[in-house]
């Protein structure tokens, strides 16, 4: 009697990991998915916050992929442990604040801990040699296998034929001949394989799987670190970086300005932590103030708040300012003009 080998697949929600899972599933392996929530994942979040996105389906792609494949999916919260990856990446950052190589090693290491705890035999990823400039190169593939400690229990079915034989292949759990040799940045082989599998609908994330590959997002994270004087973050900080316009009119304070009702509502959830303000004479955004402010700072913030509301052309606008201590105050301010708004304030 043969025992069915068990594999866990790192499911990102994109096509490559979906294909990798399918290849192994079709070889009779018992497959379950694992997805790591770092706090930076593009999934759901802002899509759910902004009004304009409400019409788009709000599906979580990793869950969706698992359902299509008919496999279980374990979503693991790694927010705390992931901080060290973002703050101190041994291999540095990519084009933005994306520490892809350290990130991949971290995730495979977590998957390895998971298979050990759950009695699984090996780990599968959708990596393809040459697909990504930092983490998916021929010379970085062994780095990930080694630094994660997964060694030859790590199988990349989409490019396995170009890599040394792994344990699942040697043991005959999977047939090497039925694996692939994808190589390079082209997406054509994956698209052809998807077609062959009859997979028509899949998510195609543009840059990568997380916000850290986004230039604007990385700018905001850097700004956060500079303003704090050190590299650190809490989950709320990195969530807030995804929402609203971020302006720093003075080095010691920043404004987060809701862009629509969805964002205003979301920012309302943070009123207990920040000074906040909103227009009472005219409709406009909810604005959070982060940092230490004196009255003249608050007045400037109120004038900016007025600038982003419907009273921007009015002679003056009333802004309710609520600080963490003391009674709410009402400021009567002249909205800043377009010329007074400085480009450099935008983060």
């Amino acid at each position: 009697m043969s025992i069915t080998p068990k594999a866990v697949v790192l499911i990102s929600g994109g096509l490559d990991s979906m294909l990798a899972a399918k290849v192994v599933l079709d070889q009779g392996v018992h497959v379950e998915g694992i997805n790591f929530f770092t706090g930076f994942c593009v999934e759901g979040h802002t899509h759910a916050i902004r009004n304009q996105d409400h019409k788009k389906p709000k599906r979580n792609n990793a869950l969706w992929v698992a359902e299509q494949l008919g496999i279980k999916l374990h979503i693991v919260d790694v927010i705390e442990q992931y901080k060290d990856v973002v703050i101190n990446p041994k291999h540095g950052y990519g084009a933005n604040l994306n520490p892809c190589l350290d990130c991949k090693s971290f995730m495979v290491r977590k998957a390895k801990e998971w298979i050990e705890a759950h009695g699984f035999d090996f780990i599968v990823t959708g990596e393809v040699i040459g697909q990504r400039p930092m983490s998916q190169r021929r010379d970085t593939m062994p780095v990930i296998a080694q630094e994660s400690g997964a060694d030859d229990r790590l199988l990349r079915p989409l490019c396995a034929k170009l890599l040394p034989e792994t344990l699942p292949e040697r043991e005959g759990w999977v047939n090497r001949d039925a694996l692939y040799d994808f190589n390079g940045r082209s997406r054509k082989p994956q698209i052809a394989l998807a077609e062959q599998f009859g997979i028509e609908d899949y998510a195609q994330p543009a840059g990568g799987c997380c916000f850290l590959t986004d230039e604007k997002y990385s700018d905001k994270l850097r700004d956060l670190w500079v303003s704090q004087g050190e590299k650190r973050y809490e989950i709320d900080d990195i969530m807030l970086l995804k929402v609203g316009r971020h302006l720093r009119p003075r080095p010691h304070f920043k404004l987060i300005i809701g862009r629509d009702d969805g964002e205003n509502n979301y920012l309302k959830g943070y009123r207990h932590r920040f000074t906040y303000m909103y227009g009472t004479s005219h409709n406009g955004p909810l604005v959070l103030v982060e940092g230490q402010t004196n009255d003249s700072d608050l007045e400037l913030a109120a004038r900016i708040t007025a600038r982003f509301g419907q009273g921007r052309d009015a002679d003056n606008v009333r802004i309710e300012v609520v600080e963490q201590t003391g009674d709410p105050r009402n400021f009567k301010v002249v909205p800043l003009t377009r010329n007074e708004m400085q480009e450099a304030w935008y983060i």
């Binding site: 759910a48 698992a66 279980k72 999916l73 979503i75």
Partner: protein
């Protein structure tokens, strides 16, 4: 069979799903879990998670920006 509640309000997806998953792991087959959320994504994600993992959604309600998904833990 017992009835449990989970507060996942003000959490963005996939946190409500993660909290649900971790809570269900502690419950027994047949138990009822009522999850309160504010992220509308939960209306989609929690039922998907249930289908994948063999649990049953027995009701969803939406009132005043709050969403309540009720599930019965599978075997």
């Amino acid at each position: 069979m017992s009835h449990h509640k989970l507060d996942a309000t003000n959490l963005l997806c996939p946190m409500p799903v993660i909290r649900t998953q971790d809570r269900v792991a502690e419950l027994a087959s047949g138990d009822i879990l009522e999850i309160h959320c504010t992220d509308p994504g939960a209306l989609h994600d929690i039922p998907t998670w249930c289908r994948i993992n063999g649990h049953r959604v027995v009701g969803t309600q939406q009132a005043n920006n709050e969403i309540i998904v009720t599930l019965r833990v599978g075997s």
